[in-house]
């Protein structure tokens, strides 16, 4: 299982702050696969101007592999400051 943490508009679109996902039956092996899965399941997320991901609190590109127990943050455009 992996844990998704959703923030800002992503939290609102996915309607929960945190959710667990079994990546195996969905054939999600890396960040790019997760992106494709989420964008097809939540079309409002695909319309956000950019979505980044962090794996275990570090920004991660699409090629980064996901492992059992990973925590993945769904990061819409940041707007701090």
């Amino acid at each position: 299982m992996i844990t998704l943490k959703n923030f800002g508009i992503a939290r609102e679109i996915l309607q929960q702050r945190e959710l667990s996902l079994d990546p195996e039956p969905l054939e999600i092996q890396n960040v790019g696969d997760l992106r494709t899965y989420l964008f097809s399941k939540y079309d409002r997320l695909a319309m956000v101007s950019s979505v980044a991901f962090a794996v275990n609190e570090e920004y991660a590109e699409d090629h980064v592999e996901l492992r059992n127990g990973d925590t993945i943050a769904v990061i819409p455009p940041v707007s701090g400051g």
Binding site: R11, S49, A54, E57, E58, V78, G80, G81
Partner: protein
């Protein structure tokens, strides 16, 4: 010296200045962000800041370390507020000290510019007719 804080209480400029104080410092530059009463012509009523706390703190540390590598600084303090803020309240304060002022100005501007690009904090603006996550849509 690096001092990074994510706080739900009001931020204070003097606290950040004190955090970077040094007898070797000749110049301190402070950036204080405040909540403006308008954005792109629309009246803002309040703001809400959400953060991915542990990662936000880590990313702010990384930016401070990069600034320390780029310039000969004595201290950096970055305090960011989370939660609901009214007009005039302070979402962020950055204080930088160095022996000479030029480096302190450059580093302080660098830290706020980078913070706005990479630190996982999200701002929602509340208007009379609705609310919007800033920068979420083109």
């Amino acid at each position: 010296m690096i001092d990074i804080q994510l706080r739900s209480e009001a931020l204070d400029a003097q606290t950040c200045l004190d955090a970077v104080a040094s007898d070797k410092a000749g110049g301190h530059v402070l950036f204080v962000g405040t909540v403006r009463d308008h954005t792109q012509g629309k009246k803002v009523n309040k703001l809400d800041f959400e953060s991915y706390e542990p990662m936000a703190v880590k990313e702010m540390h990384k930016i401070a370390e990069r600034a320390m590598d780029k310039w000969p600084l004595l201290g950096i303090s970055v305090h960011h507020r989370v939660g609901e803020l009214e007009i005039g309240e302070i979402p962020v304060i950055i204080a930088v000290s160095s022996a000479h002022r030029k480096e302190a100005f450059a580093a302080c501007e660098f830290v706020i510019d980078e913070l706005k690009k990479t630190v996982p904090i999200w701002k929602k603006e509340y208007f009379d007719d609705g609310e919007v996550w800033v920068a979420a849509h083109p």
